[in-house]
């Protein structure tokens, strides 16, 4: 789900939950009511959500993890084969390629979109008029479905209709090739499209965080002779640190679980050049019907994703101001 992407939901839950841990009211003592019944009544508020979420997510996930240790192929019996899927996985060159691609994806995403997002937000914070309009327009790509994004950019980066071809007519040929058809550039092309999609979101979040920074600090810095860049580095950045970390977290998770854009733009091709773990899992599950193997990929994926999440959660719970 594009907007309710998992990484985002995760981030929200953690932020909200860890920030306001103990602000529940003690119920006013109501005499002559059975204490347990009252507790049940309170739990009744929460149980429906737990039930539906369990049925849809948790229980199938547990079943899915169990499949990772079998050789199930969707029909027939599932035989326990222990860690065989995992050993096969660690020797699988395609999986290794997919994993590397995810790491590249994450690395690229953690640098360029964040940098441009910070730039945009900082510049926006510095102007007085037109903020709302800029913000609005920057945000629009973010509300587009991946199918739409891919439609737009497949055309713009098309070898015949796209920007590259048009520029070539004027003699500028460096973009004149099928971006998604070449192994070296396929993944980068996808990252670019995804980055274009996400960038507005980052700008808006950073902008809101920057707006909360105390103006006094900037005054002091300026009186001390700081340039705009120095102000950015020594006043803005430290002040929005927790928001920055939040976005780093959800980018990490999102780029690890990325699926839609890769699937629609290249399907993992050409020849697995842009394969990522999520698309590889999909292929194994729904095209090769090797459900057990696919589930083992899922387990690895879940483990890899949980590393920064756990770190973040534990540090937060300990009260670290990150």
């Amino acid at each position: 789900m594009a907007l309710l992407s998992q990484e985002y939901v995760l981030g929200v839950i953690m932020e909200q939950a860890s920030l306001v841990k103990d602000t529940t009211l003690a119920p006013v003592r109501q005499p002559s009511v059975n204490k347990n019944l009252r507790a049940l009544g309170r739990w009744a508020f929460v149980i429906p959500v737990l039930v539906v979420n369990s049925i849809v997510v948790i229980i199938p996930s547990i079943i899915g993890i169990a499949y990772a240790f079998t050789d199930w192929n969707g029909v027939g019996a599932a035989n326990w084969i222990g860690l065989e899927n995992f050993t096969k996985l660690f020797q699988d060159a395609i999986f290794f390629k997919a994993f590397t691609n995810n790491v590249i994806y994450t690395a690229l995403f953690l640098t360029i979109p964040i940098a441009v997002g910070l730039l945009g937000a900082y510049l926006l914070a510095g102007i007085k008029r037109g903020q709302v309009i800029y913000r609005l327009i920057y945000f629009i790509p973010y509300i587009f479905l991946s199918v739409i994004n891919t439609q737009i950019w497949r055309y713009l980066l098309h070898p015949r209709y796209g920007i590259g071809a048009t520029l070539a007519d004027y003699g500028i040929t460096f973009l004149d090739f099928p971006v998604f058809g070449r192994s070296e550039t396929a993944l980068i092309g996808i990252v670019f499209v995804d980055g274009w999609h996400w960038w507005g979101f980052l700008v808006v979040i950073y902008l809101a965080a920057m707006a909360a920074v105390d103006i006094e600090l900037y005054e002091v810095a300026r009186l001390d002779g700081a340039t705009r860049f120095q102000q950015f580095r020594f006043v803005t950045l430290p002040s929005i640190r927790s928001t920055l970390i939040f976005t780093i977290l959800i980018i990490f998770i999102g780029t690890t679980l990325v699926f839609d854009h890769v699937f629609i733009l290249t399907g993992g091709g050409p020849a697995h050049a842009s394969e990522v773990m999520a698309t590889y899992l999909y292929t194994q599950a729904f095209q090769n019907f090797d459900v057990g193997y696919a589930a083992s990929i899922g387990v690895i994926l879940a483990l890899w994703v949980s590393v920064p999440i756990m770190m973040f959660y534990i540090l937060r719970r300990r009260g670290w101001e990150i």
Binding site: G120, G126, I137, L156, Y161, V204, L207, A209, F286
Partner: protein, 278 residues
């Protein structure tokens, strides 16, 4: 919005860069719009410019070819029911977590956290089997239940933060008058927090409207397809006819943009909640 730099620093360099970024953000969208009016022939000769003839037929053909008369109502039904279902689940839960002392609320958080960090592909196959056995495959209801389960945790925490910020006096007064938790929730909390419900509803609704993976897996009947998968099928079938597919894309995107322009404050609020300190 506060201005961070004071008057003495020029804002022109800001605007220059911001304008450039604006074009990067906007021009692709405009190109989609413009190209949706071109015929295939014109696309070949004039791929990036303003259309010379405005071919509205693209839209009527896209409407028919993409079966928009079927897929739009599908999307509307699915999205609307998802919003209702999710809010019905999340509202009480958020209230419970915010105001009713529940031992183990941290465990609930952890539970949701785990559930959300699992990649969809891990549980989509077992879920598929479960749904098959429950005869919920290929039904809109089945997909709606899934969406509710997926978006309920998010809505719960969004609403929770709203409830926490509500003044406690009303609740205290009602409790002293002997009102039950349920009555307090229905009569007092809900009316007071309709902005929170609205925001949550918008974000959940948008997510459901745009959702692709589960829709493509659980709804194969062409009469039941929502817009997201309908558009994908349409794009695949008519891959060569860019004018047509662009028009199809615009039809899907236009309601979202219009809705967004009207409710942008709420949207942005709802979507950026998580990144800011309360």
């Amino acid at each position: 919005m506060k201005s961070v730099n004071q008057r003495s620093q020029s804002t022109i360099p800001n605007h220059v860069v911001l304008m450039i970024l604006l074009f990067v953000a906007l021009l692709p969208v405009l190109s989609l719009l413009m190209n949706s009016f071109k015929s295939t022939a014109e696309l070949g000769s004039n791929p990036l410019g303003i259309p010379q003839t405005w071919r509205i037929e693209n839209y009527t053909e896209a409407w028919a070819g993409g079966r928009y008369a079927t897929i739009i109502p599908n999307s509307v039904i699915i999205t609307a029911m998802t919003i209702v279902g999710t809010l019905a689940l999340a509202g009480p839960a958020a209230y419970g977590l915010a105001r009713l002392k529940l031992r183990g609320s941290d465990w609930i958080t952890f539970y949701f956290l785990v559930g959300t960090s699992v990649p969809a592909q891990l549980f989509i196959v077992p879920l598929f089997i479960m749904w098959r056995d429950l005869h919920l495959l290929n039904t809109r209801l089945g997909l709606i239940i899934i969406y509710c389960g997926l978006s309920a945790p998010f809505a719960t925490y969004l609403l929770r933060s709203y409830f926490i910020s509500l003044p406690e006096e009303f609740i205290e007064a009602a409790r002293i008058d002997g009102a039950s938790n349920l009555q307090i929730f229905l009569r007092i909390i809900m009316p007071l927090s309709y902005p929170g419900f609205l925001t949550a509803g918008l974000v959940v609704g948008l997510g459901a409207w745009n959702e692709f993976l589960f829709a493509v897996t659980f709804l194969s009947d062409p009469d039941l397809k929502p817009i997201s998968t309908g558009l994908y099928a349409f794009q695949t079938r008519f891959a060569r006819d860019w004018g047509l597919t662009n028009a199809g894309a615009v039809i899907m995107v236009l309601p979202i943009i219009i809705l967004f322009l009207f409710l942008q404050r709420r949207f942005v609020e709802g979507l950026t909640q998580g990144g800011l300190k309360a």
